[in-house]
C-alpha cells in the first residue's frame, strides 16, 4: 500500500535526520545541523501527508477511520509527535544539538512500526472503537508520550554533560546545564498536561462505551502510575527545589514507565486495552 511505503521512507528520513544532528554535534558543523533540521521538517511533512493518505485509503477499503487506531498507527503518530515537539524546542531554544538526543526516538518509533513485528494493515473498527473520543484519547496521550520521550533524551544529554570534565571541547556546544535542566522540566510539564488530558479523554470514552469511566484495567492503572510518578517529580521540583541530575534520572525513569504503559502492558499483562496491541 502506498501510505505504508511512504511511511517506511520516513523511517529513513528520521534516521538521516538523527545522523545529521549527531554529526553536527560531534563535528561542530552548523551546516550539517541545518541539514538535520531540513531533513526533520521534510520527513515530518512526508509523514503528515502519508497519514492523510492512509486516512483516505481507509475509506477506499470501506473501513473509514482516522489513522490512530492500532499499534502501527499509534507508533507512526508517536514519531510524528516527537518530531513536531522537537522542532518546537529547537525553534524556542535555538540549539540543534538537542536533535542528536531527541530525534533518535522518532526514528526508533518508526523503525519499530516498520519492522514487521507490528501489523501494518488498515483494519475495520469494531463497534467499541468507533468514537471521536478514541481519536481525542490517542492524540492527547501520544503528544504527552512524545514530550516525555524528548525529556528523557535531553536528560541523557544533561547526564553526559554533567559527568564529563568541565569545558570539554565537544560538550561546549551543548546548552548550559541550567538551560538543559529547564528544557527537561518544561518538556515534562508539557507532557504531564497532555497525559492528564489523555487519561481524561480515555475515561470519557470508556464511560460512553461501557458505562464505567474507570475500571482499574492494567493499561488504565499503568497510565495512572505514570501520572503519579510525574506528579511526584513536578512537586519535588516546585516545592523542594529538586533539579539537575536527580530530575534527569527521574525523567528517564518516568519515560520507562511510559514505555511500559504503552508497550509492556500489551504484551505482559492482559486487559480491556488488548486492541491497542494489534
Amino acid at each position: 500500500m502506498d501510505s505504508i511505503l511512504l511511511l517506511s521512507l520516513s523511517t529513513f528520513g528520521y534516521l538521516a535526520a538523527s545522523g545529521a544532528y549527531l554529526a553536527a554535534f560531534l563535528f561542530k558543523s552548523k551546516k550539517v545541523g541545518l541539514a538535520g533540521t531540513i531533513l526533520t521538517a521534510l520527513t515530518l511533512l512526508t509523514q503528515t501527508g502519508s497519514l492523510g493518505l492512509r486516512w483516505y485509503e481507509s475509506y477506499q477499503i470501506g473501513a473509514g477511520h482516522a489513522p490512530l487506531t492500532n499499534m502501527y498507527e499509534s507508533l507512526v503518530f508517536f514519531s510524528w509527535a516527537i518530531a513536531s515537539f522537537y522542532l518546537l524546542l529547537e525553534y524556542k531554544f535555538k540549539n540543534k544539538n538537542l536533535g542528536a538526543f531527541a530525534m533518535p526516538f522518532a526514528f526508533i518509533a518508526m523503525a519499530f512500526a516498520s519492522s514487521g513485528w507490528v501489523d501494518q494493515n488498515i483494519n475495520p473498527l469494531i463497534p467499541a472503537l468507533q468514537s471521536n473520543w478514541l481519536i481525542a484519547h490517542v492524540v492527547t496521550c501520544f503528544i504527552g508520550y512524545a514530550a516525555f520521550a524528548v525529556a528523557c533524551g535531553i536528560a541523557v544529554m544533561y547526564l553526559i554533560k554533567n559527568n564529563s570534565p568541565k569545558s570539554t571541547g565537544l560538550l561546549s556546544t551543548l546548552p548550559e546545564l541550567k538551560v538543559i535542566d529547564d528544557i527537561i522540566h518544561k518538556s515534562m510539564v508539557y507532557g504531564f498536561l497532555w497525559l492528564s488530558a489523555g487519561i481524561i479523554t480515555g475515561a470519557i470514552w470508556a464511560n460512553s462505551a461501557w458505562g464505567t469511566y474507570w475500571s482499574w484495567d492494567p493499561k488504565e492503572t499503568w497510565s495512572l502510575i505514570t501520572w503519579f510518578f510525574y506528579a511526584a517529580i513536578l512537586h519535588a521540583r516546585f516545592t523542594r527545589g529538586w533539579h539537575g541530575s536527580r530530575i534527569a534520572w527521574l525523567a528517564i525513569g518516568g519515560f520507562l514507565s511510559v514505555v511500559f504503559t504503552y508497550y509492556g502492558v500489551n504484551y505482559l499483562l492482559s486487559g480491556l486495552h488488548s486492541y491497542g496491541g494489534q
Binding site: G62, A63, P124, I126, P127, A128, Q130, S131, W133, V179, D182, V189, Y190, F192, L193, S196, A197, I200, A203, I204, W205, N207, S208, A209, W210, G211, T212, Y213, W214, W216, P218, T221, W222, L224, I225, F228, F229, A231, A232, H235, A236, T239, R240, V265, L269
Partner: protein, 448 residues
C-alpha cells in the same frame, strides 16, 4: 504540620504508584484457586509458598486491592494532605493575589534581580504619562501613587494564576468525591431483552440480584451489521421507555451511543442469537399483519389467513455468518411455492390463489445491555475539566509584576524599572529586557 507537608504528598504519590502495580500483575476478583495457580504456575513457586501467598492475598484483600481498606486509606490520606495543604497555604497566596503592590517596600523594589535605571529631562508627570502609554501598548495597565514625593507606578499580569495549583488540587478532590458518590449511590448491572419484549428489571453485576428500574424498557428490534469479512461493524437496538403504559422515549442506541432516562443509562454491549427467525407477514389486500417466531425447518400456520409457511433452508452469503432464506409457502388451496428472501428485506409475493402478501424475515435476537446509574459522574467530569484548566494555568500562566519609580533629582528625572515573576524566571528575563527597551524608547531618555 505533618499532614500539610509536601514530603508526605511525595511519599503518598510514590506509594500509590508502587502499590497500584500489584493489581496490574495479580489477577483481580478471582477465586482462591486462581491465585494458588498464579503463584505456583505463573510465578513458579513451591506448593507451600503458593498456599501461604494465597492466604496473604485474601487477608490483605489483594484480590480486590483497588477497593481494599488500605488502598482507600491511601487515597483518603492523599485527600487529607491536599485539603490541609490548601487550607494552610491558600490564605497567604490569596493575600498575594489581592496585594496592594503600590504599597511595596521601595528597598525591595530597588534590589530586585530584574532592574534598569534611566534619566530624562522630561518632568515627572510627563515621564509617567509617556511610560504608562508605552507599557499600555504592551498590555500593561499601570496605576500610580505618590510615595514620599516620588511617584510609583505599578502594573501586573495574571495575579489570579497563583490560584491555578489550588484549582488542580480541588479538581482531584472533586474526582474523588464523584467516585465516592458513584460507589455509594451508583448501580451497575446488565439485562438481555429479546426483540419485541420488555423488562422492568436489571440484574446487578456480581450478585445477579434484580434491581427494579421503576419503568419499563422495550426492545423493538436489534440489528447486527457486519464488514465484508464478517467482523462486527455495529450493534444497534431500538429501545422504548414505557412508563404508566405511555411511550415516553424512543431511541436507537449503538455501542458508544447510549440512552439515558431518569438517571439510568443503557449501553449496547452484546447480543444473543436464538437460532430462530422473525417472519413478518402482511396481507396487502386486507392490511392485516402478523409476526411469527419460527426455527428453521418448522412450518408455522397463520390461521385466520389459512396460510402455511416456513424457512426451508438457510443459504450462506459471501459475508460470513449471514444468510438468505428459502421460504416455502402453501396458500389457502395448498399450492406450494418457494422463494429466496434477503435478510431483513421485505418481499412482495403473489400466490396462486390470487392473494398478495409481503414477507420479511430476520434473525431473532436478544439485545445485551449494560445498565448503570452513576450520580457522581458529573462531579467527576467537572473535576476533569477543572483539572485541565488548573494545570494549564499553573504551568503556563505566570504572575508578572513591574514597578516604576519616578524621582526628580536636581534638573533631571530618574526612572527606575524593576520586575518580578513567580515562575519561569528565564522567560521573564527576556520579556523584561524587551520591556525595558520599550521604556528606553520614550523621548529625551538616557539609559544608565
Amino acid at each position: 504540620m505533618f499532614f500539610a507537608s509536601v514530603k508526605l504528598a511525595l511519599f503518598i504519590l510514590f506509594l500509590l504508584a508502587a502499590a497500584s502495580i500489584i493489581g496490574t500483575i495479580l489477577p483481580q476478583g478471582e477465586v482462591p484457586g486462581v491465585y494458588s495457580q498464579f503463584y505456583s504456575t505463573t510465578l513458579g513457586l513451591s506448593h507451600n509458598s503458593a498456599q501461604i501467598l494465597t492466604k496473604i492475598t485474601f487477608q490483605l484483600d489483594l484480590d480486590t486491592m483497588y477497593a481494599s481498606w488500605w488502598f482507600r486509606s491511601l487515597i483518603l490520606l492523599l485527600s487529607l494532605n491536599l485539603i490541609i495543604c490548601t487550607i494552610e497555604r491558600l490564605p497567604d497566596v490569596w493575600r498575594l493575589v489581592i496585594l496592594d503592590n503600590l504599597d511595596s517596600s521601595l528597598d525591595r523594589i530597588i534590589n530586585m534581580r530584574n532592574r534598569r535605571t534611566y534619566t530624562t529631562t522630561l518632568a515627572v508627570k510627563e515621564s509617567c504619562e509617556a511610560i504608562s502609554a508605552k507599557l499600555k501598548s504592551r498590555g500593561w495597565q499601570t496605576s500610580a501613587r505618590d510615595r514620599d514625593g516620588d511617584t510609583l507606578l505599578f502594573a501586573q499580569k495574571a495575579p489570579w494564576s497563583r490560584l491555578g495549583v489550588y484549582v488542580v488540587h480541588t479538581s482531584i478532590l472533586m474526582i474523588f468525591v464523584g467516585a465516592l458518590i458513584g460507589s455509594i449511590w451508583g448501580q451497575k448491572g446488565s439485562v438481555n431483552i429479546p426483540e419485541t419484549l420488555t423488562t422492568d428489571k436489571i440484574y446487578q453485576f456480581g450478585s445477579g440480584a434484580p434491581i427494579d428500574l421503576g419503568f419499563t424498557v422495550k426492545c423493538n428490534w436489534f440489528h447486527l451489521s457486519q464488514y465484508p469479512n464478517g467482523a462486527p461493524k455495529e450493534y444497534e437496538s431500538e429501545l422504548v421507555i414505557i412508563e404508566n403504559g405511555q411511550e415516553i422515549l424512543k431511541k436507537t442506541i449503538e455501542v458508544n451511543g447510549p440512552l439515558s432516562y431518569k438517571g439510568w443509562t443503557f449501553y449496547q454491549s452484546s447480543y444473543e442469537s436464538h437460532q430462530k427467525f422473525i417472519i413478518s407477514v402482511a396481507n396487502i389486500g386486507t392490511m392485516t399483519e402478523e409476526r411469527f417466531l419460527a426455527p428453521p425447518q418448522q412450518p408455522v400456520r397463520w390461521q385466520t389467513e389459512n396460510l402455511l409457511f416456513g424457512i426451508q433452508d438457510l443459504v450462506p452469503t459471501s459475508i460470513p455468518g449471514t444468510y438468505k432464506y428459502k421460504l416455502l409457502i402453501a396458500d389457502s388451496k395448498g399450492a406450494q411455492s418457494l422463494y429466496l428472501l434477503d435478510d431483513n428485506q421485505q418481499m412482495t409475493i403473489s400466490l396462486a390463489d390470487g392473494s398478495k402478501y409481503t414477507f420479511h424475515i430476520k434473525e431473532f435476537y436478544s439485545t445485551g445491555l449494560q445498565v448503570s446509574k452513576d450520580p457522581g459522574v458529573w462531579i467527576v467530569y467537572i473535576g476533569c475539566i477543572l483539572m485541565l484548566i488548573g494545570l494549564s494555568v499553573a504551568f503556563f500562566v505566570f504572575h508578572k509584576r513591574i514597578w516604576i519609580l519616578v524621582r526628580r533629582e536636581n534638573d533631571t528625572t530618574q526612572i527606575f524599572l524593576a520586575g518580578t515573576t513567580n515562575k519561569n524566571k528565564a522567560g521573564f528575563d527576556t520579556e523584561f529586557n524587551a520591556l525595558s527597551d520599550t521604556v528606553a524608547d520614550i523621548n529625551q531618555i538616557e539609559v544608565q
